[in-house]
Amino acid sequence: MSKSGRFSWFYFSSPQSFYPLAGTLQPWFAALAVILCAVGLYISFFVAPTDAQQGESYRIIFIHVPAAWMSMFLYLVMGFWSGVGLVFNTRLSSMVATALAPTGALFTFIALWTGALWGKPTWGTWWVWDARLTSELILLFLYIGFMALQAAIDDQRRADKAGAVLALVGVINVPIIYFSVKWWSTLHQGASVSMTGAPTMAKTMLLGMLIMALGFWMYSIAATLARVRCVILERERHTDWVAAEIGAQT
């Protein structure tokens, strides 16, 4: 809401007005995440049938695929806000990009970890240096590189700019990960969900996976909002409103 009383997106582009909005929305996204993950886990373990080929080991899919999706999606979102921050010099965009990185890295780690634990019984190996796995590992390094680069530069604006350039260059890796199973021969199976082809999974398996993905998505929003609030307080500490906010909190 702007001063004229009309709703305006620009109003929320200021850290001062976004901070309370993030605080109000955060518990709702957290609650949605808990509910969706609870329903998703129930379907994953008590509704979805045993897989004809892989037995029960396939149940790793319910966290592996949603985590892998989030790892790529969060990188795109991070790249988008980095780009907006770079072009329009909006502080909040850069803060959001900074806040997204740890959660993105975390889901990348989960995708790699669950992939290794799924690969062992299915392929007979924890790890292979093939296109899908290697490009996903590079994604983890990109997230870590982004965080390390930002942390290494004292001047906040320079840190934001350097991080944004790295994030944007790294975006090229996301389509490489996604299409790697098509472009190169790999141990990794093809896309679990296809927009064009006939469904290859049992409906309940697909449903469980999609609900878990929604749950992880809501979790990511909740975690990012919580983190961006910390980042806002740290970076805007010279302002009167943060001083007032800290005064109210202590």
């Binding site: 373990f45 045993t50 029960e56 080991s57 790793i60 970890w113 799924w118 975690a223 800290i246 202590t250």
Partner: protein, 63 residues
């Protein structure tokens, strides 16, 4: 999906180590992030409270 018994559920058709190893680590990582976020918020508030107190003291000694 009817597992029949807890043993069957935990065994996961012989893949218990892999399935539960995946879910356990995911849970640990997510809980760790939540704890880290709560700790960070407390830390930021504590740190900034000290920062403002120090700034106020400096102003008083100057005046």
């Amino acid at each position: 999906m009817n597992w029949g018994s807890w043993q069957n559920f935990l065994a996961m058709g012989g893949y218990g180590l892999y399935v539960w190893g995946s879910y356990a680590v995911t849970l640990i990582v997510l809980v760790a992030e939540i704890v880290a976020l709560i700790t960070r918020r407390r830390g930021v508030i504590e740190h900034l409270a000290k920062y403002y107190a120090a700034r106020r003291r400096n102003h008083e000694t100057e005046a």
